[in-house]
């Protein structure tokens, strides 16, 4: 538990540091936690023992993933006044783009799978 938490926080810390360096050096705006996730994935591939150490703690965090966006969600209440007339536009954008993206993504996957002869077995 202690070592798994330490490893997760260390990956995040390295990711945040790397994000600042990339932002300053190359102007690349990648979020630190995403870089930390890629680092964590690399470490898991390198060592099965490391993966076994991380697994229960990572599963514990992910099992309650939804809880983590409650504080930010409550914050939107302060925004409701400023949204006003834009609310309908935003809802249309969310629903319309979700339909288009699911359709486009699924068709692309199916077509490319047929062309390349990829199957799951």
């Amino acid at each position: 538990m202690l070592h798994a938490l330490l490893a997760i926080l260390a990956c995040q810390l390295i990711g945040e540091t790397l994000a600042r360096v990339l932002q300053a050096g190359l102007g690349l705006g990648l979020p630190g936690p995403v870089l930390g996730m890629i680092l964590m994935l690399g470490l898991m591939r390198a060592s099965a023992r490391f993966t076994a150490l991380i697994r229960p703690v990572a599963q514990g965090i992910l099992a309650n993933l939804s809880l983590l966006f409650v504080p930010a969600g409550v914050g939107v209440v302060g925004h409701l006044g400023t949204l006003g007339s834009q609310t309908v536009a935003i809802l249309l954008a969310v629903v319309g783009s979700t339909i288009l993206a699911i359709a486009a993504g699924a068709v692309t996957f199916a077509v490319v799978a047929r062309i390349t002869g990829s199957s799951d077995d």
Binding site: T51, F69, G75, Q86, L100, G105
Partner: protein, 238 residues
Amino acid sequence: MTDFAEIWSYLSQGPLMWLTATLAAYAIGDACFRAAGKSPLANPVLIAVVLLAGLLHLTATPYAVYFEGAQFVHFLLGPATIALALPLFDVLPRLRRSLLPALAALIVGSATAAVSALAIAYALGVRGEVLASLAPKSATAPVAIGISQGIGGSPTLTAVLVILTGITGAIIATPLLNLMGLRDWRARGFAVGVTSHGIGTARAFQVNPTAGAFAGMGMALNAIATAVIAPLALSLFQ
């Protein structure tokens, strides 16, 4: 009654009360979600947000005071993003067998989600911070919030848009893909995961295990892809 007022004024100043309230509201939301047969309409986060917003309103508590307690939960978004490496690691062997279709669907799905959302909102007159908040909404919440902060959006608005996108995808995916006659469970699940992150993935697991595994894959990969695609898509509209 003065005792109660004293206790209230003591507790309402510290982080303990609002941290407890956040967990309690989510526990109630989760209980409603289970009671509703895990229907995507009874989203536990939305229920918790509505309960807490009502409570803050009734007690005239400013958001800043609430956040002093809630920040401990909010902070875990970062470690949770690191933890997403685990489901990605677990599907790597299957991802390798479907690498080309997955990469193509990732780029097309992620770009369609960001560009079409921005185009619709822009056409309807949305600009500035609100428009920027829309760009990363298909990524999983911790990542979307981080990206939103980086591109001039509002993290709190993005959090709600992420949840709405997830619920929308979870509700429409099955009827939409049936209508289109798509039978490849990998394609169906992957597209739902890319577009509707964890909420869509949870729904996909209810429909079909293969769809669920590929939805998880799509969600994890889009956490990375959105970091690159959302700022690019937004730059088209600025």
